[in-house]
């Protein structure tokens, strides 16, 4: 009897063992996970729910390429690109299209309605009827004009190629250069690894320039004296990522900074002192690899994002 129990137990044990082996042999799946895989998608999808703005409108353009966006005092939207400028009324309806020769990388509209275009190495001024009012001399063969701002009789031009900001009068005469490295005055010099170099004029009448290689904003007087800086270098949402960001910015309500970045495409809002405030648009709202998300803010404080990959003006407003 005792021997019978041992035999039965041994058989059960044997069957159990065979069953485990069979399961392992036939049903277990090989572990194909790659321990060295580096997934960047979580950066692109993170914080989507934290955006406090929502996209309310998209405006299509008929230009072949789009590079710059600006608004005027009446709320009209201007975009510049290859061989043309397109003007939209505040509702998004195309009101006119001006033909130009070449690529206008940047655009700004003065108080009297003149359209200033940054054309690689020089500035062209056009009026709304489609006539060229003037064409300035070249800033040199290495010039890459990426941004323009007009304030009264002063025109500020960001030259990414020569890493300097020019202050000119309305006729194109150079008044002074801003931002050249000068340890004596504490000007650090612009670090511009890629051709994204933006500037703007704040309500208090000072010039703000992005120093992308330092992930910083620098505030200058019109004479070129450095007043203050703030920087936020970080891969996280609170900072500016990559080698050189932000690529573009605009002022919101005269005091806040709306910024856009490349590498991780996102649009955010910062306080005047650099405190991160909120998210406007998250990376998953853009095609991966989108660069040059130029920004503008209209009279209604709507944030206008120029999307050169989707060929759209995308309008963002606070969530209700």
């Amino acid at each position: 009897m005792k021997q019978k129990i041992i035999i039965i137990s041994a058989i059960i044990l044997l069957f159990t063992l065979v069953a485990f082996m069979a399961k392992d042999f036939f049903f277990s799946k090989p572990d194909n996970t790659n321990p060295y895989a580096f997934d960047l998608n979580n950066i692109r999808t993170a914080d989507t729910a934290k955006a406090v703005y929502t996209e309310t409108q998209q405006i299509k353009t008929t230009l072949e390429e789009i590079h710059g966006i600006a608004t005027d005092n009446s709320g009209k939207i201007y975009i510049s690109g290859k061989d043309g400028i397109e003007v939209f009324d505040p509702s998004g309806k195309s009101s006119s299209k001006l033909k130009i020769a070449g690529i206008a990388q940047s655009i700004s509209v003065s108080g009297n309605g003149d359209i200033f275009l940054g054309m690689q190495d020089h500035i062209e001024i056009w009026n709304t009827s489609g006539k060229q009012a003037s064409k300035w001399a070249s800033f040199g063969p290495d010039a890459v004009i990426t941004s323009i701002a007009v304030k009264g009789n002063d025109v500020f031009i960001a030259d990414a190629g020569q890493k300097v900001v020019y202050r000119c009068d309305l006729k194109g005469n150079l008044i002074n250069k801003i931002g050249l490295k000068d340890p004596a005055t504490g000007v650090p010099g612009f670090i511009i690894p890629s051709p994204y170099f933006d500037l703007g004029i704040s309500k208090d009448g000072n010039l703000w320039v992005v120093n992308p290689g330092r992930h910083s904003f620098e505030k200058y007087t019109f004479d070129g004296a450095l007043i203050t800086t703030w920087n936020k270098a970080s891969m996280s949402m609170e900072g500016f990522c990559g080698c050189c960001n932000p690529s573009n910015f605009a002022f919101l309500n005269d005091s806040l900074f709306v910024t856009s970045e490349k590498a991780v495409e996102r649009v955010k809002i910062y306080n005047t002192d650099g405190t991160f405030l909120s998210i406007v648009a998250t990376p998953d709202q853009f095609e991966a690899g989108t660069k040059g998300l130029d920004l503008a803010v209209d009279k209604k404080s709507r944030i206008l994002v120029l999307d050169p990959v989707k060929m759209l003006i995308r309008i963002f407003e606070p969530k209700k």
Partner: protein, 216 residues
């Protein structure tokens, strides 16, 4: 026909031309089939290419494996699939392309809070990248090659956030030039190919007189 001499002359010319045409045809046919090889397969897929006496095989043996950075998707498989341990694939730094960034996407983890050399901030699992201050705000990044395992994390980070100056390459001081490269067999983007041994590197962003990349 004017005379016998003209007839013989014509006959000789015809014979020579026919012979030339036939030889050209045979050579062309053989080259399409795979040269003198009776199997008609390319050496790349032939298991006998290591010992084969045919001139095509000799020429094949003068080539080496290399990885094309433009096709590489930085999947990390080079670290695990090479017969060498650590892998013969290692990262190479093309300094001409580097932005010498403080916030380096190839050096720092994306979620890092502080920009420092602390181990928890480094993207490289073996700390094979060394960071050195050059001048404000520039930092130089060098590869400690014995530590590099070819996992491509830094390559992916550099490409996503920077200029793509970090690139994977098969290092020929380590590669044993297997007939059938086990990494190439497992490469999902088919980035591996045989390249001439006298131009063994395929780095992007630098040029030299020979058209061959130099290891930096």
């Amino acid at each position: 026909m004017q005379n016998r001499r003209d007839f013989l002359n014509l006959l000789c010319r015809g014979t020579i031309l026919t012979g030339l045409a036939a030889t050209t045809g045979v050579l062309a046919f053989r080259s399409v089939k795979g040269g003198n090889c009776e199997l008609g397969t390319s050496c790349n897929n032939c298991k006998k290419s290591d010992s084969c006496d045919l001139p095509e095989a000799a020429l094949f043996r003068q080539t080496v494996w290399q990885l094309d950075p433009t096709k590489c998707i930085q999947c990390g498989r080079c670290a695990e699939n090479c017969v060498m341990s650590p892998s013969a694939v290692k990262v190479t730094h093309v300094y001409a392309m580097c932005g010498y960034c403080d916030l380096c996407g190839g050096y720092l983890k994306p979620d890092t809070k502080n920009i420092s050399t602390a181990a928890e901030n480094q993207l490289c699992p073996t700390s094979a990248i060394k960071r050195k201050f050059v001048e404000d705000p520039f930092y130089q990044y060098t590869i400690d090659e014995p530590l590099c395992i070819g996992c491509a994390k830094c390559v992916k980070g550099c490409g996503a956030f920077g200029n793509g100056s970090l690139q994977l390459q098969v290092r020929h001081d380590r590669c044993v030039n297997c007939n059938e490269c086990s990494i190439a067999r497992n490469c999902p983007s088919e980035a591996f190919s045989r390249v001439p041994a006298n131009k063994p590197y395929l780095l992007q962003g630098i040029e030299n007189k020979n058209g061959a990349g130099k290891i930096g």
